[in-house]
Subunit: 177 residues, 2 copies
DNA sequence: AGACCATACCTCGATCCCGAGGTATAACAA
DNA sequence: TTGTTATACCTCGGGATCGAGGTATGGTCT
């Protein structure tokens, strides 16, 4: 996830680590902050894999900066990841939102973007609940516990809104393709 | 998270590992499946910490079962965790839903349940977005990218539904307290 | 009788992540 | 002058997680 987000931000323009940190904090930090001890090793991994390069520059305000720039391989890895996200990227909302945040990078490929949205559509279309009566998913009305009923009500509202958005956006993408 | 879910399920009644696995699959498996390699070490950790005990029984259908039962310390740890969840448990939707799934275990303490819901209420009340203009959070209408706009629309629908549910449920809990 | 599947549990290496701590510089306030 | 804040980067140990693999048993189907 972090990998996807880093590549996604760097696709727009080169950044140094500290800027990247602030971008990540805005995107996911409200829900799940990312620590230094996570970010910097992740950058090193991406560098070791040849997906980005560093250029040291004198720091504007303090210590020297390491400006990070995507390589061709990095750009290719990002686009490939966006075209064929893992199942977990589609089902887990946190991960899915990260995919959405950067899906515009597939800008010349409306069909590829639509294919990704259709995977989410298929996932949301599966009958599912958090609670089951045997193998039958239970609806909010059947659950007496107010907290569990809340889970189901909130999930239903989210799914309704997302399906609505998915359908209108897919229609636009299909027109473009 | 896994720890909370295991303790929460065992609070209802003793289970063996395989049953636990199926309960967990129903609760979170649709979004994020849990592998054997995660579950069994987690059980061992809880056992080592004295939060649960195992009793080996001849297997009903196959290999011998290890029935898992909460200890007093395990029950206390569960309730304490529910009373004072970490910030991440409140902000991250996956974790928050796990808390909600077991919050009924604080059944004699409507004030404690209400206090937990109020923490979520405070979190949702903070002005936040995924995208910022300087330090000002941007609304869906200001974002041109359809995918990012979708994120904001979906998040808004979720927040609206959840605030609605939180307020009615808090009113009920306050009446009970 | 043999194949196959569901039940039931476990281990191991690789990877990832977090938190705590450390090292600097420069600006600004007390 | 001293303290604090913001910038900017890094390491290390501990812990959690995953995936792949392994070991059984018992029932069902052919």
């Amino acid at each position: 996830m972090l990998k996807l987000a880093i590549l996604g931000f760097l696709h727009d323009r080169p950044l140094h680590g500290y800027e990247l940190r602030r971008h990540l904090a805005a995107l996911t930090g409200h829900v799940r902050p990312i620590s230094d001890g996570t970010l910097y090793p992740a950058i090193k991994r991406l560098e070791a894999d040849g997906l980005l390069v560093r250029a040291t520059e004198p720091g504007a305000a303090a210590a020297p900066r390491h400006t990070l720039r995507l390589t061709g391989a990095g750009r290719a890895a990002l686009l490939e990841r966006l075209r064929t996200p893992e199942d977990l990227d589609v089902s887990d909302e946190n991960r899915w939102f990260t995919v959405l945040a950067f899906l515009r990078h597939l800008d010349g490929e409306p069909a590829a973007q639509a294919a990704v949205l259709r995977r989410r559509l298929a996932f949301l279309g599966e009958p599912a609940s958090f609670f089951y009566d045997g193998s039958r998913p239970m609806g909010a009305e059947e659950v007496a516990d107010p907290f569990r009923r809340g889970m189901l009500l909130i999930a239903r509202a989210t799914t309704t809104a997302e399906l609505d958005w998915l359908r209108t956006t897919l229609a636009e993408l299909d027109r473009a393709a």
